[in-house]
């Protein structure tokens, strides 16, 4: 190897890669998202159902919202036909937040704190993502966790 000062460079690189990936390395196997299909069934029977299935919404809700906003603002189409045929008004403030709120009484009736876990922040804080939706859309009143 003819790289001048190669040894130092590679040691430095290895340390850098180690540091850069440390958040992932430390958290391997610690994911707390449990795919509980039974809970989903129970919720559905109570009418607590999102516009699409949870398996789709978890990884894709941001893309869906992106499509919604383009549809509403740019095409003037405000109704969403879900894959099960139901229709929803495409509105973050007036549709999503109806359920995804700390004050969801159906959830709170049985579980203390359950609704709070399922608000936007409940997950976004955990994932350390900070979308700027609430710069414009009125944020549901949530207690900081």
């Amino acid at each position: 190897m003819k790289i001048y000062g190669g040894g130092k460079i590679f040691v430095g690189l290895i340390i850098f890669i180690g540091l850069a990936t440390s958040p992932f390395l430390f958290n391997i196997g610690k994911s707390s998202i449990v795919r509980d299909t039974k809970a989903a069934e129970i919720m559905q029977s109570m009418g607590l159902q999102c516009v699409e299935k949870k398996a789709f919404m978890l990884p894709n809700h941001m893309r869906l919202l992106d499509k919604w906003r383009d549809s509403v603002v740019r095409k003037g189409n405000r109704l969403y036909k879900a894959s099960d045929g139901k229709e929803y008004e495409m509105s973050l403030q007036n549709t999503c937040l109806n359920c995804h709120s700390e004050k969801n009484e159906t959830c709170n009736a049985c579980h203390s704190n359950m609704a709070r876990k399922h608000t936007c922040n409940g997950c976004h804080n955990y994932m350390a993502v900070n979308p700027y939706c609430w710069d414009c859309h009125i944020k549901p009143k949530e207690t900081k966790s």
């Binding site: 893309r63 906003r69 405000r78 109704l79 969403y80 894959s83 403030q93 414009c136 009125i138």
Partner: protein
Amino acid sequence: MSMNRRDFLKIAGISTIAGIGGTAIVGGLQKGVIEAAQTAPDTDTLTGKKWGMAIDMDKIKSEETLKRVTEACHRIHNVPDFSNTKDEVKWIWTETFEHSFPGQEHQFMPDAIKHKPFLLLCNHCDKPACVRVCPTKATFKRKDDGIVMQDMHRCIGCRFCMAACPFGARSFNYRDPRTGLKPEEINLDYPTRTKGVVEKCTFCRERLAKGLQPACVEASNGALVFGDLNDPTSEIRRILASKYTIRRKPELGTEPNIYYIIGGSDYAVVPEIK
């Protein structure tokens, strides 16, 4: 292995670009998943091919009417009030005749007209200069109903549209609009804006979608008439066919769609079209 630092850096650089590019492409492909989903307009939507408005200045008799009309709009759209003209945001406002129609005033005009406050708002032009200049299509003309819309999600805040609009209809959020809103007065059903984007009147497209008239029209006691200019039987077309109306700066060719009736006190008696 013989490699000097220069080659090593080259290979490392290319691999990084390939890595980032690859992720971007894979990420892009995933977007296709929801393309199949279906959307449709609201069932209650008022439909029109080319929305326009006629404003009968004779029917606006008092400052209170003007205040009611402008406040109706600004309240439901969470338009902030900073009490200074520098950072001012407004969707509908008043300006005297000589400033609304510069060059049209003359010295012998009755003061009652010359200094009369006229209601001004976005003209939703047929050939809007703001749309022509926008570098991101953040402002665009809707094909179905001709509303000149502003996509707050896309606007980069370059303010080219503000330079281009000959009607001064556009406002820029020089500061966070929420600092100009009283918390108890915020309309929870409508978003605010964020700092750094341009905004303006949208002809209340969110109300039209629910079958309602624009807020200013509703609050005007009949002084403002909103309707489809493409429909010859619409009330607005009958008014335009029977009364002398003027538009702001028609010579610029933007084809504004807001018409002003001056001295048309009895337009209510308009011929029916059979």
